[in-house]
């Protein structure tokens, strides 16, 4: 008995000593708020920023983007692997050494079998990018064709050396980026091969889900089996608990954060509240550049925009500065003519569709616009602009309708629900002529904009997942992009020059009206300290101090 008492005293003293010398930033509950949940909570399925921002604190991949602020947040660091491997075999092979002593939040050990299972599961659960990203792994194509029989021979585990070897079909400079996003999360080896829906899957991260209510919210607590192996890869996190509540409109979220009822809101601050928060809560406003642009894809396969002159007329007529006003002003958006946002590798400022063509947009050129319109022979053609019902999309749609009418089209605007608009405008069966949408990076690579949005393989007739919304396809440009992707592994500068050329070429083809690139504004409570913004994951909730 005596030794037990001694042990208890020692533990108590130890705790007291830790409290006395420890960091008092740890502890407390961070309260996040959003309008609603975002579908499945399966990290290998969910493709939304709303959940990716918290997945990064719950799950780990072999590698990850550094969980820190500034430029460093865009660098890849080792996570469950001991180091970021250099590709061998001409870029075809990657060997990852798995860390030892890591456990999932259910107490299971992290094993090489779990890694293999997780890669196979990407195909078995129909990961949204299984066909575009992960099929580069040897056997990936077969897995895509027959997911139920997926063995993925390209991922080889060696339990003795605790290594995973991944073989690719061809060199892929973005393979590590694609492993570093939450899709690359390593899950327990017994995770079922189906969408887990609202049942949270255990992870190795600093936090785990205590409760999940699809209509109420998520409560995350510390993972009892977690120990920090790399501060950059998976920091321990300051708050003891993270509550992510659902159910408030953006307007109500602003009021709640102003009143310190919540610490951070997911949605963009509505335009009519910007002045208020910038005036009264200046220190709680955080603005960061992001790779994100708003654009209007024009369907190049159906009238009237199968006519290049009609497309050029729209390009010259659109007043990008006016569009910026609809988004909230110059502090949040910048007029744009090209595809790549300013922070993206390969960006070279370029704007041919302005009064004084050059690097920057200055003013619309209505003389040229009318000339092209006349030349196109499309005056009087009916055009429908499809846009989201929510701000600022609806307002942008109405403005674009006005521009089209002034050009001589007979234009309508159809604002439709934000839940379906993005898939609706992708499906060629809906015969969408022009629409308004936006795109932000999955990871910082030019291909994530140019290849994903404009390559022939991104265009699928009759599919809701045809992200090449314009339906543009030029095999020559595809070849150039393939060349850039191959080069970027070893010669990133040369690759960036090609990306810049591709960017300018696609801009000149006028397949989308690039409207503006934006900055991300976060609004936090007065009690939240140490707001950290990652270029990849955006707000890092685990690094917020709320105590």
């Amino acid at each position: 008995m005596r030794w037990i008492a001694a042990l208890l005293v020692a533990v108590a003293l130890c705790g007291t000593a830790q409290a006395a010398t420890g960091d008092d930033r740890y502890g407390g509950t961070l309260r996040l708020i959003t309008t609603a949940g975002s579908g499945s909570f399966d990290p290998q399925i969910n493709y939304t920023e709303r959940y990716w921002e918290i997945f990064q604190a719950m799950y780990d991949g072999l590698v990850t983007f550094a969980k820190t602020g500034g430029k460093q947040s865009l660098t890849i660091v080792p996570d469950l692997a001991t180091e970021v491997p250099k590709p061998t075999d001409g870029g075809l092979t990657y060997v990852f050494h798995l860390r030892r002593g890591i456990k999932f939040s259910n107490g299971q050990d992290l094993t090489v079998q779990a890694v293999v299972h997780s890669f196979r599961r990407l195909f078995k659960v129909n990961n949204p990018n299984a066909g575009t990203w992960y099929d580069v792994i040897v056997g990936g194509r077969t897995c895509n064709a027959h997911p139920e029989h997926c063995t993925l021979p390209g991922v080889v585990a060696d339990a003795a050396s605790n290594t995973i070897t991944i073989h690719l079909r061809h060199p892929d400079s973005e393979f590590l980026d694609q492993l570093a996003v939450p899709f690359g999360a390593i899950l327990p080896a017994d995770t079922p091969d189906h969408d887990m829906g609202t049942t949270p899957v255990p992870g190795t991260g600093a936090y785990m889900v205590k409760s999940f209510n699809p209509s109420g919210g998520i409560v995350m607590v510390r993972n009892p089996y977690f120990h920090q192996w790399s501060r950059l890869a998976q920091p321990r996190g300051y708050p003891d608990q993270i509550d992510y509540s659902f159910g408030l409109s953006p307007e109500a979220q602003v009021t709640a954060v102003e009143n310190d009822q919540y610490d951070w809101m997911f949605e963009d601050v509505p335009a009519d509240r910007l002045n208020e928060i910038a005036t009264k809560f200046t220190r709680q406003v955080h603005i960061h550049p992001v790779n994100w642009f708003y654009y209007a894809p024009m369907n190049v396969n159906i009238p009237p925009f199968n006519n290049k002159d009609a497309r050029l007329a729209v390009e010259y007529a659109v007043n990008r500065e006016s569009m910026v006003k609809l988004f909230g002003g110059n502090a949040l958006a910048k007029p744009d003519c090209q595809i790549l946002p300013p922070e993206m590798p390969g960006y070279q400022a370029y704007c041919p569709y302005t009064k004084d063509p050059g690097a920057k947009w200055s003013a619309p050129d209505w003389t040229l616009a009318h000339e092209y319109m006349k030349k196109s022979g499309m005056i009087g053609q009916h055009v429908t602009v499809i846009t989201e019902v929510q701000a600022p999309f609806r307002q942008i749609g109405i403005y674009l309708q006005d521009v089209l009418n002034r050009l001589g089209f007979v234009a309508n605007v159809k604002p439709i629900s934000s839940n379906i608009e993005f898939n609706y405008i992708q499906n060629t069966n809906n015969k969408v002529q022009i629409s308004i949408t936006d795109w932000d990076q999955d990871y910082p690579a030019a291909s994530d904009f140019l290849d994903v949005l404009f390559s022939c393989h991104s265009f699928r007739k009759g599919s809701d997942n045809s992200i090449n919304i314009s339906g543009f396809c030029d095999p020559a440009i595809d070849d150039e992009m393939a060349k850039a992707e191959t080069l970027s592994l070893l010669h990133p500068k040369a690759a960036n020059a090609i990306w810049a050329h591709v960017d300018h070429q696609i801009t000149r083809r006028a397949v989308v009206v690039s409207l503006f690139s934006v900055a991300k504004l976060d609004f936090t409570s007065s009690s939240l300290k140490n707001f950290t913004f990652s270029g990849e994951y955006m707000f890092l909730p685990q690094l917020a101090v709320v105590k």
Binding site: D272, L274, A278, N319, G329, V389, R394, V403, R406, I416
Partner: protein
């Protein structure tokens, strides 16, 4: 020889049903004030093009994001940058509260709210009155046919009305609008363009038919048993003659009582659909679309949402009071279903 003396005169004929009702209505002060309010609103809305051309000097259907306006001798941007340390936000110019450009300020597209209010009122009133007319005509037709002929005609029509009635009215209106607003209606000869006002008129007109047709049917069943109708049937009068001369005149008074209430309901429905972007389509305006435009300005320029909201409240209130007056004047015993 006449029995009448020279000083005797004929008693004036008793005033007719409609004349009596008219006199009762005129004596109803609340109903008359409501009627006057409605007439003033209608006249103001009718003057929308004049107002836009000669008072606001703007095109209320064209975006004016980069426009300027002179106020108090100063040139101001219609959409100007908000004055704050972070340079965040753009604010539309506020109301001047004087007759002239931007009397009620601008919306997010830089358009004159007052001019759009008047144009919006035209559309809202047009849709509500036209859809009420559609509703009343269809309700009269179905109610009279079902009530008069009975049998399988009654069963068939009643089934259709019950089916229509089974849907929550707004759910039905929203469903129809969402489906039809994308491509319009195309049944060969009968075509309605997606942006045509005829589309909301038809949708709103149809969804309220059971609310009127049911009471009309009940009324006609009662009339069918009345002595003069039985007599007309007995002497072999054709059905169309009985319907036209004996049934319809008795039904019309009920329809007149219903009319303002249905117009009010239709006005509210139109506003709701337009607020949800499935009614009047931009750049056209209705009071509902202007409330939607104002929703995103509720904290900075609340007048954009409040002004059309007030217009709806005043119009619906006036219609309801007028409806009550009409009911009292035409049939004080009538019990109408809300």
């Amino acid at each position: 020889m006449s029995d009448m003396t020279a000083n005797e005169t004929l008693a004036p004929p008793a005033p007719g049903y409609w004349a009596t009702a008219g006199r009762k209505l005129v004596r109803d002060r609340a109903a008359m004030i409501s009627l006057a309010v409605l007439v003033v609103i209608a006249l103001l809305c009718a003057a929308a093009p004049w107002y836009a051309r000669h008072v606001s000097h703007t095109n209320p259907f064209q975006s004016n994001l980069s426009g300027t306006v002179v106020r108090h001798g100063r040139t101001m941007e219609v959409l100007g940058a908000a004055d704050n340390p972070l340079h965040l936000g753009i604010e539309p110019i506020g109301p001047s509260w004087r007759l002239g450009p931007y009397m009620l300020g601008a919306d997010q597209q830089g358009r004159d709210v007052a001019a759009r209010m008047l144009y919006g009122g035209r559309n809202s009133l047009l849709i509500s009155f036209a859809s009420a007319a559609v509703c009343l005509v269809l309700a009269a037709l179905t109610g009279i046919l079902a009530g008069f002929f009975g049998g399988w005609v009654d069963r068939g029509i009643s089934f259709l009305l019950d089916a229509l009635w089974a849907f929550p009215v707004f759910l039905l209106a929203i469903s129809l609008s969402v489906v039809l607003i994308a491509h319009g209606i195309d049944f060969g000869l009968f075509r309605l363009d997606a942006s045509s006002l005829s589309l909301p008129i038809t949708i709103i007109g149809v969804i309220y038919v059971p609310y009127v047709a049911r009471p009309v049917r009940g009324l006609v069943i009662g009339l069918r048993q009345s002595e003069y109708v039985m007599a007309a049937i007995g002497i072999g009068a054709p059905a169309w003659r009985i319907l036209w001369y004996d049934i319809l005149p008795n039904v019309i008074s009920a329809l007149v009582v219903f009319a303002p209430l249905i117009v009010a309901l239709d006005l509210l429905t139109e506003a709701a659909l337009s607020f949800l972007s499935i009614g009047v389509q931009p750049p056209a305006a209705s009071w509902g679309t202007i409330i939607h435009d104002g929703e995103s300005l509720i904290y900075t320029r609340p007048v954009v949402a409040i002004a059309p909201g007030l217009a709806i409240v005043i119009t619906v209130l006036a219609l309801n009071i007028l409806g009550d007056g009409l009911r009292d004047a035409l049939d004080p015993r009538a019990k109408l279903r809300n």
